[in-house]
Symmetry: C2
Subunit: 396 residues, 2 copies
């Protein structure tokens, strides 16, 4: 039959990470690939109590069609929580989404035309590239350093529909701009009239000190401010609930809401009520520190393993102060994509760095991303040791 | 700040129904407006048991990131269930979606270009118009009769990317084409090379006899067949779970899957596992007949009320043999949109018919949709009586 694909379908591609994840589901593979939170941190008992309560006290409301904006008390909770981070918004500006990935899709749908430009970090979150690309934008990659994008490099983004930024413990690079860098970035964005889409899935996962206030706090969201802010419950509770949110200027909110209605009517009300029931009395204040402590220990384990097994063969990396990822540069002669099969044969998986670049270049071929949160320290050591052997062998 | 909207944002509009629903949430309003299943039918006890079991036996898997395709056993269940309806597909062709609304969004994203044509029934499901319109298609409305679209009228759809059809107890008209009509439609679709997107949220809600086999069964889905089929758990379990599915030809499946990854990574695994736990041992065989019996009694109550209060003033309607809706034609002098405020003042709400037409014309102004499933018989009688008074008064 004569199905005709939309032109944008050419910009849809298999997710490299999701394809790699299939490989890593094979028993015996130590996966440092996926951005999978440690399942041990999922608050199963609290979830079980909350679901039982929701289904006892408000089953019909939880299981019926619900408002596209999201569950009112959860939207209020988000607004209150953001205020503690210095970001002042009304609950009416909060749109609950089916994971923050959906927030990216809605932003793309409402703001991106074919041939328009979207500025991104270099490297940037792969899922954002995948969300925006089908709307047929051209990406402008903004150069940066170990701290984040360079303020003067934002000049290249002039005229873009927006710049997508993930300032806190970025996926994949782990970097986290200082307050000063953020102020410079915000100033430059205002100067050139560049709206910012700020994604913050990892901000709560800091190890020694919380990250500086979001860029959105400086740019303002408000009535018609220069920022959209995205958050998620995936990393502080559990990703299988698919619960995130978008906070938008009041002038933009109605279009995002209409896009949400068209996309899936509303995010499951059951999930929203259960999560609100879990968190409403300060649960996260007790819970998130346990995640931080675990991840910090695993960060330390990976740092030690990298020093033991990859330092001597000329690899370089940053030591992240939060989040989930190490970003590694292999010796220039090595190609992380080409070596992945050998690593998997050796029982360990990672994600090559190239897909995280809007326009991958040969100079990106030796990069890769390692998650330190998915497997415990003993397996981290074992996995990095295996990688060390694979890379050493490849170097001859 | 200079946010620039994408051109497609002009094709995003507030959902008439969702706006009306806000009005109808006011206490004391009898809502015949929304397509809300009767909350009394939600299987709360089974849900509570299933969630407890999932969180006891597989909490980590249920709460972790999961496959974009959906939960394997649920996909198998769908394929097996469709086989009983004469539709033979592999589980590998089933994509679990966040409600079937998301299926429509994904279909639009993958198949609809700006300026391309999408054929729809007249009237058609409003949510489908809202899902497809942002991809900037032109709609071609296919004329029909009380049974459904006219096979010869499909000629007008020649060259369209696809025709969207909701054959079983259509929303909003309630109509249900016979097996003969379906065969004629399928034959004509094949003759003119017109792919079909078949939506079936209401097929299980039959009162006296099940509807004929889906059009997709005649067209075939298979490797590269002429149909995509959408289903939902919203009407047989509960809509607040947001669980639906798309079944696509194998050649199209990868693009829909990639669009799904970009849209929300995956549908909540927690919800998928809970629903599978509820239904895996034949629960729906016991449960759905109780919904049918309830809705049939409410259909009868509305039919009786319409005869009592609207027949005498020149209204006409079909008597649906399944589903959730009556479609009413008022005397030509009345405008259902204009009269809605007066109806709400009188304590009853409905949805005017005009938004269900791709290109509303003055001749559609006297149509409206009534849901008979949301409120019990006594309120149905009370609501229709109030409508009768409002319309009689408007006629002078």
């Amino acid at each position: 039959m004569p199905w005709t694909l939309a032109r944008r379908a050419a910009r849809l591609n298999p997710s490299t990470i999701r394809e790699i994840l299939k490989v890593t589901e094979r028993p015996g593979i130590i996966s440092l690939a996926g951005g999978l939170p440690a399942a041990e941190t999922f608050p199963v008992a609290a979830m079980a109590e909350a679901t039982a309560r929701v289904l006892r006290d408000n089953p019909r409301e939880a299981l019926q069609y619900a408002a596209s904006e999201g569950y009112g008390p959860l939207r209020e909770w988000v607004a209150t929580e953001l205020a503690t981070q210095g970001l002042s918004v009304d609950a009416a500006q909060v749109l609950i989404t089916t994971g923050s990935q959906q927030g990216l899709d809605l932003v793309g749908k409402v703001l991106v035309d074919p041939g328009s430009r979207v500025a991104v970090e270099s490297p940037t979150y792969l899922g954002a590239l995948q969300a925006f690309a089908p709307f047929e934008c051209d990406f402008t990659a903004i150069e940066g350093d170990e701290e984040g994008p360079l303020p003067e490099a934002l000049e290249a983004a002039r005229g873009a529909r927006f710049m997508y930024l993930l300032p806190n413990f970025q996926n994949p690079s782990g970097r986290c701009p200082s307050a000063q860098r953020r102020a410079q970035l915000a100033e430059k964005a205002v100067a050139i009239g560049l709206p910012i889409v700020e994604d913050n899935p990892y901000g709560d996962l800091w190890f020694d000190a919380p990250p500086p206030a979001p860029l959105s706090a400086q740019l303002g969201i408000g009535e018609n401010g220069g920022a959209i802010y995205l958050g998620s419950f995936s990393k502080v509770l559990a990703p299988g609930l698919r619960l995130g949110y978008v906070v938008a200027p009041k002038t933009l909110y109605p279009k995002l809401l209409q896009a949400k209605q068209a996309a899936d009517l509303h995010t499951p009300g059951f999930n929203q009520r259960v999560v609100h029931e879990v968190i409403k009395n300060g649960f996260l204040n007790e819970h998130v520190p346990t995640i931080r402590a675990r991840y910090k220990a695993q960060r330390d384990a990976m740092q030690a393993a990298l020093l033991r097994h990859l330092h001597g063969i000329g690899c370089r990396w940053n030591a992240p102060v939060g989040g989930m990822f190490f970003w590694v540069e292999l010796p220039a002669a090595l190609d992380a994509t080409a070596l992945l099969d050998r690593a998997v044969e050796a029982g360990v998986a990672y994600v090559p760095g190239a897909p995280f670049f809007a326009a991958p270049e040969p100079r990106h071929a030796n990069t890769l991303r390692l998650s330190f949160v998915t497997v415990p320290p003993a397996q981290i050591e074992q996995g990095i040791a295996a990688l060390g052997r694979v890379f050493a062998q490849a170097l001859g």
